[in-house]
Every structure is written in C-alpha cells, then in structure tokens.
C-alpha cells in the first residue's frame, strides 16, 4: 500500500457511458493483485471531500486502470481528466481474489458480472492459471453498455434483450449450468447486491464455492474509519470491514 500522485495516462469511453481511466504508477502496478482496489482523491479541493474506491480493472506494465460511469461529483471530475493531470491514489488495497483464484481445489472458473461489476475481471482473467477452464457471464441493461475489453468470449444477458439472453445474468448462468456440466466449478462474481444475493443462494444450493467482490461506501479504505461493515455469518466478530477483510469474500461467510 502506498499513497502516490499518479499522472493520468488516458480516459476513454469503453462502452456507452462507461469510462476507463488509466494512470501510471510503478509501485501500484507491481503490487496489485486481482480483486484489490484503489482509493482515489479526484481533486485537491474539499468537495468532494472523501476518496472514491474503484476495483483495479487492468494492469499493463506501469499503467493501472479503473472503470466507472458518471453518477456523481467524483466521477464527473474523473471523466474530465486529461493525460498528464494527476490523481492522488492510495493502493493497492484489500484482499482480492488471489487466494481463491490460485487454489488447486477447483478446475472451472465461472466469472459472473453484473453491469460495472465487470470491473475486477479483466485483471483476474489476465492472471488466472492456464490450467483453469474459464467461462464468463455478463449482464447489462442493453447491448452497448457491455464492457468487452479484456474479457474474451462472454455469455451475455441484457435486460432489454438487445443481445444474447433476455433477462438477468443469474438466470443466464442457471440456464447454462442446467445444460452443461463442469468439473469442480467455482464462482467469482461482482455486481449489484441483489444479484450477489441470488448467486450466493444459488451457489449454496448447488454446493459451489462462490467468491464475491462487495461494494460499500467507505471513507478511508484502510480500516481507520470503520465505515464499511459487512455482517458475518457465524463469524467470531459480528462485522468485518469490506476495505480490509474484503472486498472479496466467500459468500457463505458474510451476508452479501
């Protein structure tokens, strides 16, 4: 974990209304692991006050990238960054997918992403062992909002039916698995809370291990503010912090 003023390399629209910002930091790039995040101060003014957490989308040599859509003051400022502008970054932070990803106890990775929940997966796909079979499932409102960069082949679901399966990505996954059998599958997922809850229930019913990257409002990202609790299931502590113990959790251990 370091704090650095990183120069912006590029900002590009990679799907309709979805942007990728790439910045240069050798230290963050070399330490980053799939599923970790960075906490970004978008300007040096006191509004917005707090940093904004983003999953690491990709790491290519010294370039680290994040993806976002413009939904508030922080992302409005980020999208207007020009190459050479500086962002204040703390990272890489949290526990990512690494332990689950590197395990020998599974053979098939089922990647399931809802909307911007795609964020951690291009990096994960670039690091996952070649001995694993990988299938990706992604859901979006409509075809032009699907992030395809770095994802390879995907099974696609759209709410409006403009591409692939008409419906949500959990239904698509369930449908797919009802026709196909995979050896020792494991789910890696990220997306809206309701999607994660359904996947968690599905995984439990089928006896599939499931790892989810959770989202939570957080101020510091490093455990100082205690602002991002998630309730544990039969844990020693009632709450753990998304920023420190997560953001990736085995879904049988917390109430997603």
């Amino acid at each position: 974990m370091i704090q650095t003023h990183a120069p912006v390399h590029s900002v590009e629209e990679i799907a309709s209304g979805i942007f990728r910002l790439s910045f240069r930091s050798r230290e963050v790039a070399s330490a980053a692991l799939p599923g970790q995040f960075v906490n970004v101060k978008v300007n040096d003014s006191l509004f917005p006050l707090l940093r904004r957490p983003f999953s690491i989308f990709s790491v290519e040599s010294e370039a680290v990238s994040i993806v976002f859509n413009v939904i508030g003051e922080g992302t409005r400022i980020l999208v207007s960054k020009k190459p050479g502008d500086v962002v204040d970054v703390i990272g890489p932070l949290g526990n990512g997918f690494s332990v689950a990803m590197d395990s020998k106890n599974y053979k098939t990775a089922l990647i399931v992403a809802g909307g911007l929940g795609i964020a951690p997966f291009p990096f994960l796909l670039s690091q996952i062992g070649k001995d694993k079979k990988v299938l990706s499932f992604t859901g979006a409102r409509t075809s032009n909002q699907i992030v395809r960069l770095g994802m390879g082949h995907m099974h696609i679901a759209t709410d409006d039916g403009s591409e692939g399966f008409a419906g949500n990505v959990v239904d698509l996954l369930e449908e797919h698995l009802s026709h196909h059998h995979y050896e020792l599958p494991r789910i890696f997922c990220c997306g809206p809370a309701r999607m994660l809850k359904r996947l968690s229930d599905f995984a439990q019913k089928k006896g599939i291990e499931c790892y989810a990257s959770l989202e939570c409002a957080m101020a510091c990202g490093v455990g100082l503010c205690q602002g991002c609790p998630v309730e544990t299931i039969n844990g020693k502590k009632k709450y753990v912090l998304v920023c420190k113990e997560g953001p990736v959790f085995e879904t049988s251990t917390v109430f997603v």
Binding site: K41, L46, L49, L50, I90, A217, L224, Q226, G227, P229
Partner: protein, 314 residues
C-alpha cells in the same frame, strides 16, 4: 530553535497536532502511509469495557465538504487493547492518549482504572459526547451534572492528564467546560461531531442506518472555532481544538481562537499523513513570522473588528 511542544498536567507533547479518536485506529493501522512518531499525539479509538460491534451499514455518508458517521463506537474492548495494542504503542515517540467511552459512570471508572497502570497511556480523553449510541454518549454530554460527576469520579482515580471531550449539541458549551474544569479536568477537547442527517430523495431512506449521525469535516470548522472561542473566554485550562481541520492554516486559526493544541479527525481518512503535514506547516509559519514558541499563537487573535475582508474572498 522553534519550541513546538506543549504540556498538559506535566505531560509534554512534541508538537501541538494530535490525531482525533476514531480516525486513526489504535495508532498502528497504516505505518506505510504515515510516520506516527512525527505527530504530537495519538488519541485512540474510543475504548469501552467490553468489545463493541458497532452499528450496521451504512455507517457513513458524504455531505457537502463533510461526512456523517454512525460507527457506534465499534472497538476491541479494553482487555484486547491492553494485550495487543499497548505493546506496539510502547515504541511510539508521540504521546498516546486513551479515549474512553462508556454507558455508565462505573464503566468509565473501570476502563480508566484498567489502563491507568500502563506507562504508555500518558493520559485520558473522555468521550461524553458520542451521538451514535443508545446509552451513555450524548445523554451524559448534554447534562452538566453528569459531566461534573464523571469528571469528579475519574479525577479521583488518576493523576494523569484528564481531558473531557465536549459535545457542541448544547446551548452553551462553555458551561460544560466550566463544569469539567471545576471538577478537576486538566483540559477539554472542543468539539465532537454535530448531530446531522441526510435523506436519499429517490429511496426516501436516511443515508445512514441510525437515521441521524455525527457531522464532521470542513463543513463544521467555523462552528468549532466559535465553540473554541467561547470556551477560551470561560476557562483557564487548555483547550484542544477539533473540527474540520485539513491544513496548517486551519490549525493556526484554532490556535488564534484559543486552542492550545488541535486534533485532525475526518481528514485522516483522506490523507493519513495530514497531521504530520499540519505540524510541519505550523512550524514553518512560525519560523517565517519569527515566532519562537508556537504557544505564542494561542488566543492571540485580534479582538478588533476587521475593516476589510476582501483578501480572504479572492
């Protein structure tokens, strides 16, 4: 040689910038990001007798240049602090103040008595002003008789610096400072968070789980400075100014209003090394102004009406 130090009841702090309770863990959270030895002092997360889980999510929400929080005093409890944190804190160069929160006078006393024997705990800051717990907290801090009682009982049990952290959620905070002073408090911390609230207009739900929370950050700085000024005119004991400090300029403003020292709170979340930067900035400012002792700034505001304010606008 610049004198940056200050003293409360015989305990000397290396400079006048501390980190506020609940914004810096137990001092050992982020060694990668900040050299805690360069701080004047560290005030620990509030400690209670038993561990506390804290409140459900969402615990925080950002508001205009501020944040609402309702952490609910989540902490590891005094025994775990003694077992796991005190050994680490013993190597710190900066002064460690243990913050105590409790839901009864007896609990305050028990936590203080458990910590008092440890040399590394240089003093105590008493949280009688948390707005986010059902018992204790604000119900103590808004009652002068209870503030006096808690101060009196704790004063009997320690010779170390006893600092009472006051809430701004009262009509006249100076009356509470006087109550603490008259019962033997060595200093007061001014201010804790203000009760605030925010609603998501789309979901119509409150933005934090406990409906109201504590407002902090730059948004509250002018209120905090006014409270420091009010208390400064009322008591003789030192005041530790808290509320929205992000820069050395903010800190100097608090000193001029009457604070002997300051604490950085919310801004640690944005920049964990903010306290170190503020301390360095105060030192440079004093050097430039040929001030030999930072203490010369305390209460040194000009009482006369300002004739022109245009420079601070532009």
């Amino acid at each position: 040689m610049m004198n940056e130090t200050f003293t409360i009841a015989g305990v000397t702090f290396r400079n006048r910038v501390l980190v506020a309770s609940g914004t810096f863990g137990y001092g050992d959270e982020v060694p990668e990001l900040v050299d805690a030895d360069k701080l004047g002092g560290i005030v620990t997360k509030s400690l209670s007798m038993k561990p506390r889980d804290g409140n459900p999510a969402p615990r925080i929400a950002e508001t205009a240049s501020g944040m609402l929080n309702s952490i609910g005093l989540a902490n590891i409890g005094v025994q775990k602090f003694i077992d796991e944190k005190i050994p680490k804190l013993s190597s710190f160069a900066s002064t460690v103040i243990a913050n105590i929160a409790a839901s009864s006078v007896e609990e305050y006393c028990a936590v203080l008595e458990a910590l008092d024997p440890f040399k590394v705990v240089a003093g105590f800051e008493i949280n009688v002003s948390c707005p986010n717990v059902k018992e204790g907290g604000l119900s103590f801090g808004t009652d002068k008789v209870k503030v006096a009682l808690i101060t009196r009982e704790l004063r009997r049990r320690t010779k170390k610096p006893l600092i009472i952290k006051l809430t701004p959620n009262v009509t006249h905070i100076s009356e509470f400072a006087l109550a603490a002073e008259s019962e033997g408090a060595d200093a007061v911390s001014v201010i804790n968070t203000l009760i605030g609230m925010a609603i998501d207009i789309r979901t119509r739900k409150t933005r934090i789980s406990t409906i109201t929370g504590g407002l902090s950050g730059p948004a509250i700085k002018p209120i905090a400075i006014a409270k420091v000024y009010e208390v400064y005119r009322a008591v003789q004991i030192p005041i530790i100014g808290i509320g929205g400090i992000t820069s050395w300029e903010d800190a100097v403003e608090f000193l001029l209003a009457g604070a002997s020292a300051v604490q950085i709170g919310t801004y640690n979340f944005v920049d964990p090394s903010a306290g170190v930067k503020v301390a360095e900035g105060i030192k440079l400012f004093c050097e430039k102004q040929s001030i030999g002792n930072v203490g010369e700034l305390v209460g040194a505001m000009e009482a006369q009406r300002s004739l022109s304010v245009i420079e601070s606008w532009l």
